[in-house]
């Protein structure tokens, strides 16, 4: 695909970048200073037939309009909230993402965050590293994880993988989804508030769309309650972050394990002093193994497109 002009939006993965550079005509969007962006895009518009974006910089309407030759958007992510799908549909631009290869890692992290938050593992690590462990009798109790009811918002691939893992801890599973899933053997709630009121740990695993923005709002957090724990491995805007901060500070919500935030890389500083939260910088798919698999999927989709073959993981 040497003639395929590919616009890479950010330096998301050095292996991917290396391969694109070797096999295609690569344009690196971030190398041009912001003020010259549109000029740069205009100058290369005729050549750019493919765009590779991620959860940080995708392909919004403005970008797509600036690229009249764009044929395919291959996202280095499973979430497509940063791609204007309506615009792509209108322009008949193909869109691919990276499902399945990252499911396990994201589900593993969801459980890891849940137990770390309940059992105060990061707090323990901080305590020991500070040299404060001087007495043998100096303990606080933390919340048991096994057997606690898990509520999952969004029972897609990732939601199901989370449920499978939680079942090994004898956790009863319930979920909210746009519609009940007949094949799922878990308790369905048609309202997120009801789900939150009836579970101990609420895990957000749905896609971010116009409908799901702030799906976890103050009412949901109050229903989850002072002993409840929220885990978000979806997208930051799924949770009303300002309400989350006040709920945690006021003790209306027991704790939170967060991989995503409304304005990454910025995390509300009021959370930094809390022992009831675990904060990680969007590392859900961040393993060597998975990022390589994601990169290979992006490359495979681009290759298929260049050869006029069926795309591997098309969304549009």
């Amino acid at each position: 695909m040497e003639s395929l002009g590919v616009l890479l939006t950010v330096p998301m993965n050095s292996y991917l970048e290396g391969e694109l550079s070797k096999r295609c005509k690569l344009f690196r969007l971030w190398e041009t200073p912001l003020e010259n962006r549109w000029q740069f895009l205009r100058a290369n518009a005729a050549s750019i037939r493919a765009l590779v974006g991620n959860s940080v910089v995708g392909a919004d309407a403005e970008m797509i309009d600036a690229l009249p030759a764009l044929e395919i958007v291959a996202s280095f992510s499973v979430g497509l909230d940063k791609v204007d799908l309506a615009k792509c549909r209108e322009r008949r631009i193909r869109v691919t993402n990276t499902p399945d290869v990252l499911t396990d890692d994201v589900a593993d992290l969801a459980i890891g965050l849940a137990i770390a938050t309940m059992r105060r593992i990061c707090e323990a690590d901080r305590y020991v590293r500070s040299g404060a462990w001087k007495n043998m009798g100096d303990y606080k109790l933390s919340s048991k994880f096994s057997g606690k009811t898990i509520g999952i918002i969004g029972l897609g691939r990732i939601g199901l993988a989370i449920a499978k893992r939680a079942e090994a801890f004898d956790c009863p599973i319930s979920y909210y989804s746009r519609s009940e899933k007949p094949h799922a053997n878990y308790k369905y709630y048609s309202s997120v508030v009801d789900l939150a009121a009836n579970c101990h740990i609420l895990i957000v695993a749905c896609a971010l769309t116009e409908e799901t923005r702030h799906i976890v709002n103050r009412e949901v957090m109050d229903a989850l309650g002072p002993k409840g724990v929220l885990v978000n491995i979806g997208r930051g805007p799924l949770v009303d972050e300002a309400e989350l901060v006040s709920a945690l500070l006021e003790g209306r919500l027991g704790g939170a394990g967060l991989d995503v935030f409304e304005h990454e890389p910025h995390v509300p500083e009021q959370l930094f002093g809390l022992e009831s939260v675990v904060l990680v910088p969007h590392v859900g798919s961040g393993t060597w193994e998975t990022r390589k698999a994601m990169a290979d999927l992006v490359l495979g989709n681009l290759e298929a497109h260049a050869m006029n073959e069926p795309l591997l993981t098309p969304v549009l």
Binding site: I115, R119, I121, R129, K140, R165
Partner: protein, 332 residues
Amino acid sequence: MSAENPAAETPAVERERLPPVLLLRPLSFPFHDALATKFRLLKPWESPLPRDEFLAAHAGDARALLSFGPSPTIDAEILACLPNLELVVAFSTGVNHIDVAECRRRGIAVTNAGNAFTEDVADYAVALLIDVLRQISAADRYVRRGLWPINGDYPLGHKLGGKRVGIVGLGSIGSAVAKRLEAFGCTIQYHSRSRKPSISYKFFSDVANLAAESDVLVITCALNTETHHIINKEVMLALGKDGVIINVGRGALVDEKELVKCLMEEEIGGAGLDVFENEPAVPQELFHVDNVVLSHHKAVFTPESFQGVLEVVMGNLEAFFSDRPLLSPISE
């Protein structure tokens, strides 16, 4: 008086009729009141007499001894002061602080926490492993220091799925760890004193061989003279540069000096440790590296585990004093 109302006072005359149980140190947690409703607790430290004299004076009464915490060790010397002792009830799973051989010689039964702690310790081991591989505590530190906007994305971690996990000691806790990790797509194999015929996991009679074919070792065996430093230099080198050790057993199961050396020299990939050889002392070199997760021996510290072990302890004492079979005698 019932265990549901432990704070209610037992009248003195009734207390005298309760079966006597010897303690050697105060109970730091809210176990005292519940026990005091059913048993007359003998407390040497509340007496002006030195302990040996107290024990001699109460030797007749002391048929049952409660062992709470790793000290004092229940050694031959203490046992020699208690000729009527028939039962030692431990609050822990591990009984390495009790001279079980001497107890056996003297016909003294020993009970432990049974399965009270199994789930919480297994959960903790799994969480430590995910933390080490996915760098949760290290990444949390990164975020709290405000480094995400400055230094960008956090370095990549390692996938848990597909990892070969070697369980050292496939008892109830080891089995519970195995059950959980299977759901994450790990391959389970184990070392135990002997092969378990009903188990389909691959058995290794030699720990170094297990290590050579594993990506992770989870240490969940009892500490005794045979298992002291069972995780030694040979095992660590066999595990290799990407290998991870999770220890929720006892610190002395691992040669700690060697572990630190291997970590510093990158001969192994990382470790998650809830226990250490000389608690509360932790090798300070570990405070400055990101590939270890450190915890202060608290895997059992949940309300459910505490309630569970109290029930097991009370149950064992009640069974003993009514000549019924003990709930959780240790097997040797």
